[in-house]
Amino acid sequence: MNTIIWLINFILKAIGINFAVYGYYGQLIQTVLVDLIGALLIFLAAAITIIIVIYIFRKYMADLQQRIGPNRVGPYGIFQLIADALKMFGKEDIIPDNTDPLLFRFAPYLVFIPLILSYLLIPYGSLYHWLIIFTNVKVTLLLVLAFSAMVPIGEIIAGFSSGSKYSLLGGIRAAAQDLSYEIPMVLSLVGVIIVSSSLNLYTISSNTIPFAILEPIGFFIFFIAMIAKIAVPPLDLPESESELVSGFNIEYSGLRFGIFYLGVFGNIFFASLFISTVYLGGGSDLPWISGLGYIWLLIKAFIFMFIFLTLWIALPRIRVDKFMNIGWRVLLPLSIINLIWSVGIAALMSGVI
């Protein structure tokens, strides 16, 4: 039984909301209600996480750049992001004449909703005797991949529907970048699937030896692909502020722009969680750290997040054709080598050789 669902049920019953006693339909209503509250909770958790990530990023960036960073709103400026968000809600939502209004309105949600949904699929591990997993179907890895493939489509739609040449170029770049990293990324994950013989993220992450050690090449490819996926410098080609002004989201304003902005940071943290789950799982079985899997996951994810943010702050943008060269001529062959390597590892582990 899933801990979270059980907990919500328990609280609901404690405050006197219990439809389950009214027969079959009552039970159905109760299940839907519990699921809805659970989804709302994860949405809130994801939004709060993103806001925390943005605050950390701004403070960290300011520190590296010898500035102070936000320090006016609240102690140490912690409410700055809330003030920013309120400001963004209050802005006028401008839809330019040349746009395709429906697609233009729709694109930000296509970027943001899959992102929030993919937060649901991560097995957050155990915290004492609670297991924090929201969804534990057999194919969570495939679902994550499917959701993450939707994000660039949202960017491309945003770029094409804006009716501006900069955003058109940004959309084309998003498509090109998407193609260059996604195939190596998926192929490197296929290696993981072969070795663990599972498509479930929880099974993959509970592998005794972390996959970063078993498959260093795959880990490397996946890391590069994740930088490309979150599209921050050095690989922020769809956005590339100094070349395409703001790339695919140039025409957006107000809340819709805010959604894109949140999406960037949400992507960063999700990528950190994803890479820690897939490639750095497996520690929780050790005796002296049992029951703290959730904390370990967060530590690993934050380390990756800081790596991504440091790259963002320190590096210039790579040229678009250079990145496509890397994607097709370096990462793709490497991922095929990694595939052969994984088959070898899998054979070794199952005792065929």
Binding site: R67, P233, E243, R319
Partner: protein, 368 residues
């Protein structure tokens, strides 16, 4: 496959055009077929405005030409008028001028280095360079009372003598700066992506550079050792010891290296000027009072100075009254910009941004 050429207007409002440059680009995918820079969005016609002002008042227009190296602009104009009106300048004033001009060159190159980083997508070096620039600006504030438009170098000398506390601050800066410059340079040079973005991009051949009348670091990066300070020494540049850094490749990376090295040389000159400065008058007492109308000249004179962007020249024609008849300004970045198409044709959009940033145009000066 059908080739579709799209026209894109880069600017005049664009984050990396250093002001209000507009580049009309014909793009085939991401490749540039033709790039035509269009200028004039910051045009104030300083030349016409100058005709209606007294000689010393014109200097304020010069301040507003190249707003990151104002001292250099003032110097160019003041030298031209001094030749025209036969104004004697005390020796100390000339040494002070040399010092502030070289410090201003460092400040200008620091701004360039920071904004170039921004253009390439590096945010961080900008803050490091501006921290150093801030120290120089504080020195200038001590001298002239202003942070940006100093109006310090005036006809007949400099506006004020060096204050007492300046010496310590200057020596502190002199000792600190080489370390900081190494740090800034390593932020760029130890970065593989930066080198990839710069090496071999934006090539300008020495022949084309000469034909386009390009001067300054852009020319020297193409391998031609030409510097007004050495070739046509003004002030006391023949009495100080410094090198002219050059590079051979003529690409963006050479321009980067040349400017970085130039900052070290400028610091050397500023220190020498500071040491060799004799005691005495800092302003010609003849022009201290009612200087506005006293300065008159008939004839023509052209002054050549080396501003951070190249040869800055002012051509002044006087008709014997206390207002100039005609002031003509030669702006160095104007010419560097006119060769844009030579450098960026056939390269990618990202390369054009990198190339434009290494040309270091400042639009107050290009558009005048």
């Amino acid at each position: 496959m059908e080739e579709r050429i799209i026209d894109v207007n880069f600017g005049p409002q664009h984050p990396s055009t250093h002001g209000v440059l507009r580049v009309k680009v014909k793009l085939n995918g991401e490749t540039i077929v033709n790039a035509e820079p269009i200028i004039g969005y910051l045009h104030r016609n300083a030349e016409k405005l100058s005709e209606d002002k007294f000689y010393p008042s014109v200097a304020i227009f010069m301040d507003r030409l190249d707003y990151v190296s104002n001292h250099n602009m003032e110097l160019g104009y003041v030298l031209a008028v001094e030749k025209l009106a036969e104004v004697q300048v005390p020796e100390r004033a000339n040494w002070i001028r040399m010092m502030v001009v070289e410090l201003n060159r460092i400040a200008s190159h620091l701004v360039w280095a920071g904004t170039m980083g921004l253009d390439l997508g590096m945010i961080t070096p900008f803050f490091y360079t501006f921290r150093e620039r801030e120290k120089i600006i504080q020195l200038f504030e001590m001298l002239s009372g202003a942070r940006l438009t100093y109006n310090y170098i005036s006809i007949g000398g400099v506006y004020k003598d060096i204050p007492g506390e300046f010496k310590d601050k200057f020596l502190e800066f002199y000792n600190e700066f080489p370390k900081r410059l190494d740090e800034i340079q390593s932020l760029f040079m130890e970065n593989e992506i930066f080198i990839q973005r710069m090496k071999g991009i934006g090539y300008l051949s020495p022949e084309k550079a000469m034909s386009y009348s390009i001067t300054g670091p852009v020319l020297r990066a193409s391998g031609i050792k030409y510097d007004i300070r050495k070739n046509f020494p003004y002030l006391y540049y023949d009495k100080v010891d410094f090198e002219i850094p050059t590079a051979k490749d003529g690409d963006n990376f050479s321009r980067f290296i040349v400017r970085m090295e130039e900052m070290r040389q400028s610091l050397k000159i500023a220190k020498q000027a500071f040491d060799k400065m004799p005691e005495g008058e800092y302003f010609n007492p003849l022009y201290r009072k009612q200087g506005l109308i006293k300065i008159k000249g008939k004839g023509e004179s052209y002054s050549r100075t080396e501003s951070p962007r190249g040869e800055f020249g002012v051509y002044v024609i006087g008709d014997g009254t206390s207002k100039p008849y005609r002031v003509r300004i030669r702006s160095p970045a104007f010419h560097a910009l006119s060769a844009t198409n030579e450098m960026v044709k056939g390269s990618k959009i990202a390369d054009m941004i990198a190339t434009l940033s290494t040309l270091d145009p400042v639009f107050g000066e290009v558009d005048r």
